[in-house]
Symmetry: C2
Subunit: 472 residues, 2 copies
């Protein structure tokens, strides 16, 4: 019996796709830079089916690439010649427990569905980013996705209490649970999260839920400089006791592009400003969300007072506070259009890096200077999770030229390394950052990663060629 | 040249102890249950010396047990016949950076020294527990220590941004950094934290610091039941937006024992109560800490109002709020006397388990019932980080009998497993929980741990015989 016949037996009629037309959805991600044709697409519906598929592929030495929402930006789910193991039919939200504030979900649950399920209990699952309507929990776990609320709630790994993982040879590893303290041996949960499917396939997870903020204060702020913006962040964190949920920087050319590609939208301010910040503060305590006699809400008043003080000091040039849910939603829509804004022009070189907060301005200045030295006709655009020091930096070279693109990536990595930053903040490594891993990551750490990979997947069938570069 | 000569050359005159009198401090921990005589005590002063020691021991196939403050409770630092590698001379606080709110410290820094260093900048390092005056940061990292503030700030691993680790063969792995987002490959930081020195020796770390609360509201509360106590926790978390720092349960016999062994101390209440809770709420926002016209502080008022409401409902029987720093300090002293209270009687069987919050009462009831079935003359005593579901359960069998002690451990593990809990919450595995690991941990997870251990320490020289039980 051939492997494909075995897989068809395991998965049933809808479970295995081999016709190129049926597989179209899995042949590319939406960057368009990682086209690939899988040998077949396996679509299991249970952890047991994933286990059986892996056992069969392990016996056959067949490469397997786990895929969920296919919204990654680094080619991590590119499955050329491999079995694309799609989690898209494992969509059960097994439970939402308001008492323990946890939810148990399968890997194919789309993030926004989990948002809705939590919301029904007045709770939130705080992980959020632009692709939440397509991205699935499995991919978020595999890449340790970040997003706009990391400042308050942490990265994906900080939101997870338990996992079910299928290993390369099909064994099922039970790391499930909903405990807040558990020191029973090596922490395999954190090892599997962020491994981009190279060590195992996450099929289910228990995640933390949080009290839904009772009110939000959301504003667009034009700051005099990035330093002034960081002062705002520190002041409002101090005033609210750390209640800032999002602190997002959009430079002038981001706003320009957004206006151009989004008919009917308005500029945030009458004047054009260099440093546009979207800030959101969440009030979880009732006294911050109970309307005052004048109809205002304390959390909003607190933000507005801080902004007014800073305008007097000249640190803030303009500010608009959302006065309705619609205005708040418009502010978020502008920020969440980042992918459309960034990918509006081609060719592009898109990176995702992190530096310490005070180094963000140095990074941006230095990267632009060196970009223009490499290619005087180039341009760049950034959008920054400023509260995390996480810059999405996109360069637009004047021509499509692989050598030039490589030189730009190298330049960005140089600037980041000089600042003690990371060449990959929240998008992972996938294919696109293998060279950075080889060149920038501590060589001993790389050797340890290789040793772990070899120990857990000795035939190298799990997402081969990704994340961990070969020894040179 | 013998190994000891080589080590003496590396470490210099004060760096290697072989005389039993000099080594006395390293021959036992303070539980008294894990006596051991090391071959020698190596006391390096730099990461480079640790590296050279490990390279030499690796070449000689010599077992090495890293030791820091020796305050562990599970025998994890017991070094019979091994080189005890003591971090006690690596005591530099390399920097405290208020801007990035981080500190870079060597592994031998005593926790309370780091508290003081942070306090000088009006910041806190939130990890705290009774042994903080002896315990060192290296041991806290290796065991992923918990303590009393986990509810608000997380376990030790959540407080760490970077590590330096020396591997079994002496290679130095650089995982240092102070980034809030970093997805550059497998997460080796979380793998090393909590590994109890079986995969590498942590020599330095970058840890997070936090804004020092501007005021605390601290109270002793007699709740009508554990369920009522959990209702209090949920209500005060909701009212303060999640500002509860500690929520500690002490049963009546804890209070009795504390009174008996602590001359001059007073009972918390006029009457004896079953459910005594110490609660502390920290106010980080100025408006919660600014004295009102009547001299009270809003955070205290908020706590007192919540307590008053619950007294009316009959859920709380009595409550005392600390009116001065001295009263607060007395409340903490009672809770932090836990080790003296627990270890006042012998023989004992001390365990540290976690269950979901609503299951704590079930655990306590069931464990006592089954304890008395095993040994009608036995007694027990618990102290509980109730906000984390973390129970320190101590049984006092009527006689010293290894079989009976083993049966009691087994019984506790049975109750925990039935409730989906963990047999090790915050003290790690060490020697004392190897049987629990073998019997209770998912067998696939155990195999994965063994594979990782073999990959990173193929000769098995790092803290041999701890944490990961051999394959049966």
């Amino acid at each position: 019996m051939t492997l494909l016949t075995t897989l068809a037996d395991i998965l049933g009629p809808q479970g295995l796709l081999t016709d190129p037309a049926d597989m179209a959805r899995w042949t590319n991600d939406w960057t368009g830079y990682y086209p690939s044709v899988p040998l077949a697409v396996a679509r299991p519906t249970t952890t047991q089916q994933v286990s059986a598929v892996m056992a069969a592929c392990h016996a056959a030495g067949q490469a397997v690439v786990p895929v969920s929402g296919n919204t990654g930006l680094n080619g991590g789910a590119s499955a050329m010649g491999a079995i694309a193991l799609s989690l898209d039919r494992m969509t059960a939200i097994r439970n939402v427990d308001p008492d323990s504030r946890t939810a148990e979900v399968e890997a194919g649950v789309i993030i926004s569905r989990l948002h809705d399920a939590a919301d029904a209990h007045d709770l939130i699952f705080p992980l959020t980013f632009g692709a939440r309507g397509s991205a699935m929990i499995g991919g978020a776990l595999s890449t340790n996705a970040g997003g706009s609320n990391v400042l308050r709630y942490g990265n994906t790994r900080d939101l997870v209490l338990g996992l079910t993982v299928v290993l390369a040879d099909g064994r099922i590893m039970d790391l499930m649970g909903r405990l807040h303290k558990d020191n029973s041996g090596l922490n395999l949960r954190h090892l599997m999260i962020g491994a981009e499917g190279t060590l195992g396939i996450i099929t289910a997870a228990t995640v933390k839920l949080f009290t839904k903020p009772r009110a939000y204060a959301t504003a667009m702020v034009a700051a005099a400089s990035l330093d002034a913006a960081l002062t705002l962040l520190h002041r409002i964190q101090a005033a609210t006791g750390g209640a800032v949920e999002a602190f997002e920087y959009m430079p002038a050319n981001y706003i320009d592009t957004h206006l151009r590609i989004t008919p009917g939208t308005k500029a945030p301010f009458a004047d054009r400003h260099d440093v546009n910040i979207m800030i959101e503060v969440g009030a979880t305590a009732p006294r911050d969300a109970t309307p005052l006699d004048d109809g205002s809400v304390p959390i909003v008043t607190l933000l507005e007072e801080t902004l007014a003080e800073m305008m007097e000091d000249g640190l803030i040039l303009d500010a608009v506070t959302a006065q309705s849910e619609q205005q708040r939603s418009d502010m978020w829509a502008r920020r969440e259009a980042a992918s459309e804004v960034i990918f509006d022009r081609r060719p592009f070189v898109n990176t995702d890096i992190a530096v310490a907060l005070p180094d963000v301005q140095t990074f941006l200045t230095e990267a632009r200077k060196r970009l223009l030295a490499l290619d005087p006709g180039a341009d760049d655009l950034s959008v920054v999770h400023l509260g995390d020091g996480n810059v999405h930096y996109t360069a637009y070279p004047s021509k499509e030229d692989p050598d030039l693109s490589a030189a730009i990536r190298e330049m960005v990595d140089d600037v980041v390394q000089d600042l003690g930053g990371s060449f990959s903040a929240e998008h992972g490594v996938g294919l696109s950052k293998l060279d950075s891993m080889a060149k920038r990551k501590d060589p001993v750490a790389l050797d340890v990663m290789r040793a772990i990979k070899d120990a857990l997947d000795p035939s190298g069938i799990l997402n081969p060629g990704k994340v961990i570069p070969p020894k040179r």
